[in-house]
Amino acid sequence: MRGKVAIVGYGRTPYSRLKPGQPVLNVDEYIAWAAELALEKAGMTKADFDGQGLGVSHAEVAHTVNWSAATAENLGISPRALIRGDQGGSSATSMLIRAASLINAGVIDRALIVGADTPLGMPSVAPGLPLSPERTRGVYWDFQGPFGVMGATAQFALVLKRYMHEHELSVEQLGKIAVSNRYHASLHPGAIYRERFDLNDYMASPVLSDPIRLFDCVPIVNGGLAYIVTSAETAKKVSDRPVYVRGFGEQNNHYPGSRVFPDLTETGFSQSAPIAMEMAGVEHSDIDFFQPYDDYPFISMMTIEDWGFCKKGHGGKFIEERNLHFDGDFPLSTDGGQLSGGQPGGANGGFMPLVEGVCQLMGEAGERQVKDAEIGGVCGFGGIPYGRPGRSCISVVLGAEA
């Protein structure tokens, strides 16, 4: 399916931390705003999606069980195919794969894919615990909450601690990712935190759950994102800079080694990245920039390893040796990532690597533009299974040429 579909529009609303003076919009308004931005970019209207595809990502604040159909109703679009993204931070990329498959099968020609959330507006009993019912019920919660699992930071800290037990990795090496992301955020008007910091600031940020510190964690925001994917034929007609989906790979519920005692230092990207790169017909050296799902710097680092940019266990050294800036030899998270950009709900942060990849390949990244960018690697990483990281690991290779 190399080069059969292309992205011709993307949109990303300004984000809000609900600080005084910032807009208070609901999730439907954010979806409409993001869709409007994507449609404008593609030179399309909502009417172009009647009889086509509409993809809708899960929202923490989703107010009905028929979330994708309710979104179609709110937007006044009558799609032939509804695509629902419920794979957390890999929802955006999973919907890209589903849409590409439907387009390739001739069911639809194009799809509008949207995702928004307003987690900061939710009632909360504790920091970061919005009362979304599925968070605090069922066997999954019963065997975590009462056992003292303090959310994603603690869950990922367990993975990082194990990695550091098995491999050489310094806190400073991870800090370099956080500092570089913030540098990129300073060049990106859409990022929520734009004031630069250095390694000393990073080291001075408080440890929340050993060894993860404050500057390792994504800030939650309200906001929305969208993109439009269509057949290569239509893409050529409507856009002079379509961004082609060169390859993709997906691995869900990956167990490295045993199902009972899995090896936590490997993610499903070890499976999905080689498939994506083979479909795309690219080598590591062809990739001009890399947008991992950076909910924590060490997830970026493990994703780099599992994509095969370096050997397992050498990620820290790789980061130390490479220049991660947009004009360096390994441009990483060029929009500031989620770390400095903000995460609009657990299911929608995954739009950001994809949207930034498209932005770069359309040559619209402004001050942070990667020169002559032709090939980009982007990732989706979603959901936290019991005792492991990353339920869904999706790898996508985008190209300026098919």
Partner: protein, 138 residues
């Protein structure tokens, strides 16, 4: 603001009841597949190795090894009642001949925690009928 319990308590279902009852009686129970012998945890509807639904709750050894640990110094995505107990040492414990589980380790200084540390189960009541396993260094 709605009233929430100080610390989260599990909802007890038929599937998981033996685990909580076992802990009340000082036992660590996990589902062991009668077909392939795989120990499944957290509780599953069928064996994640072979798909058999015959997985009787079976008493496990009470010793294990710390696969990893973290020291939580703040409460996030859990109930505020944990605050009194900070720092909370959360581990992934590999139960000998069992499975891996999330659990607190108590009775040890956070600075003395180590990956690979041997631990043994202790049990705390969460109600008249149910308990929860935690661990302490061997």
């Amino acid at each position: 603001m709605s009233i929430v319990p100080n610390k989260p308590l599990p909802e007890i279902h038929e599937l998981t009841k033996p685990f909580w009852e076992g802990a009340k009686n000082g036992k660590l129970l996990m589902q062991k597949c009668s077909k392939c012998g795989t120990v499944n945890f957290q509780p599953k509807p069928w064996c994640i190795e072979c798909g058999s639904r015959d997985m009787p709750w079976t008493e496990m050894k009470q010793e294990g090894t710390v696969y990893s640990y973290t020291v939580s110094r703040t409460v996030a995505m859990n109930y505020p009642g944990w605050k009194e107990e900070l720092p909370v040492i959360l581990c992934l414990v590999d139960i000998d001949d069992g499975a891996r589980m999330y659990a607190q380790v108590k009775g040890v200084d956070p600075e003395d925690m180590k990956v690979g540390m041997r631990v043994t189960a202790i049990f705390e009541d969460i109600s008249e009928e149910y308990g929860i396993p935690k661990f302490k260094p061997l």
